[in-house]
């Protein structure tokens, strides 16, 4: 029965102390958090860490829940921001700034003959600057509209459109490179 309650109501209930509502809410959204984490970082282990951190901080965050935005929009923002934080901490520790980069290096080391779809994705994502990657993860991965992605990232719809056209340009350039190789 709880599963049919809208996210927004669950969140309000959870924010006012309903433990069961909170449990239902995180259970319902864990996979979504994990998947976006993976799309943002390109690394399963990192995505799991990220999801766990977010889950643990969620009660804290819910106090700020004011129900002005859709719950999922709010949650996406939480995930994107948490991924940014993780990236920044990684950068501070002077480690590779992001998972996609690591994977790209590993991929080039292996430079295996099998160019599976996964490899192509790694290469494509690694070539995109972080901002474009976030945008792609939301627009293509989560299938948000450009307006929704704009809400999540705090940017105008125009900027999202501009970024997507930038992605298209870069993908095309990549395809041209591949054709040459």
């Amino acid at each position: 029965m709880l599963m049919e309650t809208p996210d927004e109501n669950l969140a309000l209930a959870a924010a006012s102390g309903d433990r069961a509502a909170f449990a239902a809410l995180v259970t319902r959204h864990y996979d979504r958090i994990f998947a976006l984490g993976w799309r943002l970082t390109g690394n399963k282990a990192e995505a799991e860490d990220l999801a766990q951190d977010i889950c643990a901080a969620l009660p804290h965050r819910l106090r700020g829940w004011r129900a002005e935005a859709r719950f999922t929009t709010w949650l996406y923002r939480v995930v994107v921001n948490a991924a940014h934080d993780a990236r920044r901490r990684a950068a501070v520790r002077n480690r590779a700034a992001d998972g996609w980069g690591d994977r790209e290096i590993a991929r080039q080391d292996a430079m295996a003959e099998d160019r599976a779809a996964q490899d192509w994705l790694m290469a494509a994502m690694a070539q995109l600057p972080v901002e474009l990657r976030d945008t792609v993860a939301l627009v293509l991965g989560e299938e948000l509209t450009q307006a929704e992605a704009g809400l999540v990232l705090g940017l105008s719809e125009g900027t999202i459109a501009w970024r997507m056209s930038e992605v298209k340009k870069r993908l095309r350039a990549m395809a041209a490179e591949e054709a040459k190789a």
Partner: protein
């Protein structure tokens, strides 16, 4: 757009996210429930024994470390700790620009840049706009970084205020300064004409201050005497209505560091801003959000600074924001300044990350600024950066050329520098000079207030472009001369009348100060021996004096010529003033001399003899004047600090 075949491929690959690991999911959900129990949300609270956090992998690092610590502290100490976070935040209110933030800001959950422990915005804002409990303060509503809030609790020394001993040595840095060797003493007979461009930048003084406050003497290359002089407000006589946009005043006075020479103090005072009648202003904030800006002295200070300035704008003014890092983006389309909440929200959304693509951002900013400009309006790009233009331009000269080309469109470019370490002062200077703008370095919120609030009209409203100064010295009165400072602003003699040659601009209310040290013929202080065969010329001069070609009663030391263009004009106008001794020496002129001495001491000038810190301090102290905002007493204290550091 999503029909694009490339997008389809990428989308399919992204859609194939791996399934979540059931064990990880169970662990995460368990942690979520634990956290829920511990949080104030749960009705029951928690009196349970501390739960193990051992299921976390150790590699989780800092985040889980902090959490473990907080978990170990358990409820009561945590509450005490958050209370101290609130107290900390209260202490910060004084500096906050958003004290009048309209309530809408609270309503919209805006992501705030969580530079660790550095962004003081969220908490105090909560405190000011409503009575927040300490627990609420500790919970950023935007759901960003609980860590950002917790860090000061865990270790207050992380809060971006380094202990003095940590900064005793100049930090390793990639800073590059623009400077040239100090101007040498010139022999009037060989080179009677001295030409330079005005400079209204102040960046150098702020560098010097930041270095001294950090406990080390500044790199002599970072010291530009003219910029130190420009830092101070002087009350030079302003032009009358209907006159040229600025008025020159020349004072001749004894040199404090050399009894055998005199100082010629040239002051230009720009017309004071007509605050009521100023034209509408279009501002494009071009903000560097690259990873290197993630520092308390950079992005957070930048946001506060720009927010301060917002209060000075009029409803007719427009603001747009472009961020650049990795890829450039328009963060805020042109918005009337009256929509303060919208602009503040956009500012607060900025977040550091990625590398710098300055060129792309600049192109976008110019495009926006050009689109905003209507007839009679002033458009300016304010580039805020730490100068780390390392990605995206392989060719800084190309960038400067671009800025110089854009100058003709009437869009001005000013540069605000933030933070130390990567600041490429040379590029900053060059961009601002080519963009007809000013370069200022902002190290504190007070400095931001000075540059962006007190002097807003001067920074933003040009009254005279391409202002050049030329002095022709009279060899009968001046045998040798030396221009103090302006090394990077020297112009060739023939450039003075060439309107195609760019020079510095003067903004509304700006004052420009230049000092020459001059030596009379026959003075024991002359550094050059007279030429054995030069007497013929000297005799001719004496003849000219005798026949009245050069008046004897008020002998001219030289002749000052100024060229300037009215904004957006292409033809320059000329102002001419003779340089004569005998005018009253003001306190302002004496204080300027003390600052020139300060700058030369820092540069290790060879012309000061045994005149040193004590004398400079006395001179500055004695000529503080009214000093309403304490800039001059601050300088005196900096001199004292430098004196101690120089020992």
């Amino acid at each position: 757009m999503t029909r694009d075949p490339d997008f389809e491929k990428l989308k399919a690959a992204l859609k194939a996210a791996p399934a979540s690991d059931p064990a990880a999911k169970v662990a995460a959900l368990a942690r979520a429930m634990d956290a829920y129990e511990d949080s104030a949300l749960s009705g029951q609270g928690s009196n349970d024994p501390p739960r193990s956090t051992a299921d976390r992998q150790p590699k989780a690092g800092f985040a889980s470390g902090v959490r473990k610590m907080l978990n170990a502290l358990k409820l009561k100490p945590v509450l005490a700790a958050t209370t101290s976070a609130a107290a900390l935040a209260v202490g910060l209110i004084v500096f906050l620009p958003q004290s009048e933030a309209p309530p809408e800001r609270l309503a919209a959950p805006t992501p705030v840049a969580p530079a660790p422990a550095a962004a003081p915005e969220p908490a105090p804002e909560a405190i000011m706009t409503r009575k927040a409990t300490p627990a609420e303060v500790a919970a950023p509503q935007d759901g960003v970084a609980d860590l950002a809030m917790e860090a000061p609790v865990v270790e207050p020394s992380l809060s971006g205020l380094p202990a003095p001993d940590q900064r005793a040595l100049p930090p390793e840095s990639a800073e590059q300064f623009a400077n040239a060797d100090a101007n040498p003493v010139q022999v009037t007979r060989d080179a009677p004409v001295s030409t330079f461009s005005v400079d209204v930048d102040t960046a150098s003084y702020a560098f010097v201050r930041d270095s001294l406050m950090g406990g080390y003497l500044p790199d002599p290359e970072a010291v530009r005497v003219e910029e130190m002089l420009n830092y101070f407000p002087f009350a030079y006589p302003a032009p009358d209505v209907g006159e040229a946009p600025f008025r020159p005043t020349v004072t001749v006075m004894p040199t404090p560091w050399n009894a055998g020479t005199r100082l010629v103090h040239i002051a230009l005072q720009g017309r004071l801003p007509e605050i009521e009648a100023r034209p509408p202003l279009n501002l494009v904030f071009l903000i560097d959000t690259s990873g290197s800006m993630d520092d308390p002295n950079k992005l957070p200070l930048l946001k506060q600074s720009l927010a301060l300035m917002l209060g000075e704008l009029r409803p007719a003014d427009q603001v747009a924001i472009v961020a650049y890092a990795g890829s450039a983006g328009e963060v805020l389309p042109p918005t009337p300044a009256s929509e303060r909440a919208t602009i503040l929200a956009a500012l607060n959304r900025l977040d550091a990350g990625g590398s710098t693509a300055g060129a792309e951002g600049l192109t976008l900013a110019y495009r926006l600024a050009e689109s905003m400009t209507a007839a009679g309006e002033v458009s300016r790009i304010l580039l805020a950066t730490d100068g780390d233009f390392n990605v995206g331009i392989d060719d800084p000269e190309g960038l400067e050329a671009f800025v110089a080309r854009k100058r003709s469109t009437g869009v001005y470019l000013s540069v605000l520098g933030f933070g130390r370490g990567t600041l490429d002062d040379a590029v900053m200077q060059s961009l601002a000079q080519n963009g007809n703008g000013t370069a200022a370095y902002i190290d504190t919120l007070q400095e931001a207030r000075k540059v962006l609030v007190d002097q807003l009209t001067g920074v933003l409203f040009p009254i005279a472009d391409d202002v050049k100064i030329q002095v022709e010295w009279n060899p009968a009165q001046v045998a040798e001369y030396r221009l103090i400072g302006y090394e990077t602003r020297a112009l060739r003699r023939e450039d003075f009348n060439n309107d195609a040659v760019d020079a510095g601009d003067i903004g509304a209310g700006h004052a420009v100060t230049a000092l020459y040290e001059v030596t009379a013929p026959g003075s024991p202080a002359l550094l050059h021996d007279p030429l054995r065969y030069g007497a013929v010329v000297a005799d001719a001069m004496a003849d000219a004096a005798a026949t009245g070609a050069i008046a004897e009663d008020a002998p001219e030391l030289g002749f000052l010529r100024l060229r300037y263009k009215a904004p957006r004009e292409t033809v320059s106008a000329l102002i001419e003033v003779p340089i004569v001794a005998g005018t009253e020496v003001t306190q302002d002129a004496r204080f300027a001399t003390a600052i020139a001495g300060f700058g030369q001491l820092l540069r290790g000038s060879v012309y000061l003899g045994d005149w040193g810190w004590d004398q400079a301090i006395d001179l500055a102290e004695a000529n503080r004047g009214e000093d309403r905002f304490g800039y001059r007493i601050e300088a005196v204290n900096l001199m004292r600090l430098a004196q101690s550091l120089a020992r």
